[in-house]
């Protein structure tokens, strides 16, 4: 601490000032990474687009019935900014509306993935012994089973709905988070302050809540940010294979419809280009952002 800082009296104030300093340090490091800042800006842009979609998009433009009078396969530029599809629907409207499902599924399934992975990782790492062996065996099983085939099987069996997709993605992608969290818990568990808390009579729950969780949280956050792009890509692939929610426009569904309608052989690039570019932009932005977070929060990676 700098010598001219005010004398701190209470423990709470000390904690607050340390947290503030740590956060300022984080922001300083983050701002140095120009790619990560770009990623964040892109994400905020797409997030706003997804939130405002119900007001920006003319919902009639999404239904095939309301688009009967529109020209089909119209190129971009004319009356429709990004052209129309095989049913005369506006590609631009579908693009804006489609961002909602991609982002929603990406975020929700990540929340679920992280929740399952963290609970398994913390329980396995903290309680050790046979709990650890059983949970890690289970994790290994899920880790080896190929991800997309399992997702395909689950999605075909469960049916097509947005929550089913979220569940499928979470149930297939939690193992790597569980392993990461477990290894971090194992190192935290051996620290002196945990021994000290135990000696003072702290319960297991207290130790997990006050000592283990805060130490594992940054890592969980970084791994969550890196899980989002994978979730988004999986959602897109499932939708492309015809396993997405049939009632909602999504980027993956647009690509599926474009492919099924023969957009490639017609040379209707405006139909399948925007949705793909949207996916690439969001996934790349999340990846850049997540890597920066990971580099800052995980000291082992700082010198890379």
């Amino acid at each position: 601490m700098a010598p001219d800082s005010p004398v701190i009296v209470s423990a709470a104030a000390l904690v607050r000032s340390r947290r503030r300093a740590a956060f300022a340090d984080f922001v300083r490091r983050f701002r140095r990474d120009r790619l990560a800042v770009t990623g964040l800006v892109v994400l905020v842009g797409f997030g706003l687009m997804a939130l405002l979609a119900p007001w920006v998009v003319d919902q009639d433009g999404l239904s095939a019935v309301a688009s009967l009078d529109n020209p089909t396969w119209a190129g971009p530029g004319g009356e429709f900014l990004m052209g129309t599809d095989h049913l005369g629907r506006s590609v631009a409207a579908q693009f804006v509306q489609g961002s909602r499902v991609s982002l929603f599924v990406g975020l929700m399934s990540t929340v679920l993935t992280i929740a399952i992975g963290s609970v398994v990782g913390i329980v396995a790492g903290f309680f050790g012994r046979w709990t650890d062996s059983v949970l890690m065996r289970l994790t290994d099983w899920f880790l080896v089973i190929p991800f997309l085939p399992l997702a395909i099987v689950l999605a075909s069996v469960l049916g097509r709905g947005i929550w089913n997709i979220i569940f499928v993605i979470a149930i297939t992608s939690w193992p790597s988070t569980a392993r990461l969290v477990r290894s971090q818990v194992l190192t935290v568990k051996e620290r002196l302050y945990v021994d000290r808390a135990r000696a003072l009579g702290a319960t297991q729950v207290h130790v997990i809540r006050r000592h283990v969780l805060p130490n594992v949280a940054p890592l969980i956050l970084a791994s969550a940010t890196l899980a989002v792009p994978i979730s988004i890509l999986t959602e897109t692939t499932l939708a492309f294979l015809g396993l997405g929610d049939p009632t909602q426009a999504s980027w993956g569904k647009t690509l599926e419809e474009a492919f099924q309608a023969g957009a490639i052989s017609r040379g209707a690039w405006w139909y399948y280009l925007p949705a793909g570019l949207g996916i690439v932009a969001v996934v790349l932005a999340f990846t850049l952002f997540g890597r920066a977070l990971e580099e800052i929060l995980d000291p082992r990676l700082r010198d890379r």
Partner: protein
């Protein structure tokens, strides 16, 4: 290698395989309690006919008797009958497996060779122009959905430019044999293979690069330099052989992803492999076929992982023991 290490790995793989078989059976039964009922929905079958069918599909008896019957059939190589073609699933898979092996094998080899070479160069000269450029490129390919890349490539090279066929294993009604047939098939395989290779080389490059960065700091590299070895020799003889190990284990995990990637990419190029078979099975839905494919994909990945684990034990004595 220590025998204990080998036995442990083999047992681990077997337990995973057993888990997959259990999942594979119960997953389809949970939803589909009576496959005969849903398979012949809308058709007037007498009770006796249904009973006969149930017996045929091993659906009489309790859940556990059914499971035992499923395992018995599995061990004798019977995966059931496809609902769509009414042919045994093993026959369907047997026909579709070779195009996929050719495609996925070539694509994996290409993406490993290119990805590893990029990673070596990028990691050796950190923050160089090549490093920054190739890392950006790798992140980009990692973010591109493989099937979208396939659509772009198909639209550009096959439809607009017309330099590659639009799909299939070979020209329709071709009478070519021998070398010219092979060339024709390679011509058809070029685009899907290119797409899969590009989609997966980024990850190899990134992992190889960070492994190189770890290796560069090791003492034995300092020693090699101090001996007066040329830079090229330090890299080739001392850095690369050690740095390549993590990439070896990545390749097995990735094998599952490449197989998965092949599902969408194959259907775009109408490549008659397991991917296209999967898509058709989803459309059905053809549950026996999906079950068989899932089992095959999982077994392939499990075997690949076991092979790599054992190979790792040979390559790195610290892991496998002498």
């Amino acid at each position: 290698m220590r025998p204990r290490f080998v036995v442990g790995k083999v047992l681990g793989a077997l337990s995973t395989l057993a888990f997959v078989v259990v999942v594979n059976f119960f997953l389809f039964r949970v939803v589909n309690d009576d496959p005969v009922e849903s398979m012949f929905r809308g058709r007037n079958l007498s009770i006796e006919q249904k009973d006969r069918l149930r017996q045929q599909f091993n659906l009489d008896g309790t859940r556990f008797e059914q499971f035992a019957a499923y395992v018995r059939e599995l061990l004798s190589g019977n995966l059931g009958v496809s609902l769509q073609s009414r042919r045994p699933v093993t026959t369907e898979i047997g026909e579709a497996i070779w195009p996929t092996i050719a495609l996925v094998g070539t694509a994996t080899t290409l993406s490993m060779i290119i990805g590893i070479s990029i990673g070596i160069r990028a990691g050796w000269r950190r923050r160089s122009r090549f490093d920054v450029g190739s890392t950006t490129f790798s992140m980009f390919t990692y973010s591109v959905p493989d099937f979208w890349l396939a659509m772009l490539v198909l639209g550009l090279f096959s439809v607009q430019l017309g330099v590659f066929p639009t799909g299939g294993l070979q020209d329709a009604g071709t009478t070519a044999t021998g070398i010219s047939l092979l060339l024709d098939q390679l011509h058809h395989m070029a685009l899907p293979c290119l797409v899969l290779a590009i989609a997966y080389l980024g990850e190899y490059a990134i992992v190889m690069r960070s492994s190189m960065l770890d290796t560069v700091r090791e003492d034995y590299l300092q020693l090699a330099r101090a001996k007066g070895l040329r830079d090229v020799d330090v890299r080739r003889r001392h850095a690369v052989p050690n740095a390549v190990l993590p990439v070896v284990s990545l390749s097995a995990l990735n094998f599952g992803f490449v197989l998965s990637g092949a599902i969408a990419v194959e259907s775009i190029f109408s490549w008659p492999g397991l991917g296209q078979a999967t898509l058709q099975a989803i459309r059905g839905p053809d549950f026996p076929m999906l079950q068989g494919l899932f089992l095959l994909f999982s077994a392939a990945v499990i075997v690949a992982n076991l092979a790599v684990d054992l190979l790792y034990g040979v390559l790195d004595p610290r892991v496998g023991g002498r």
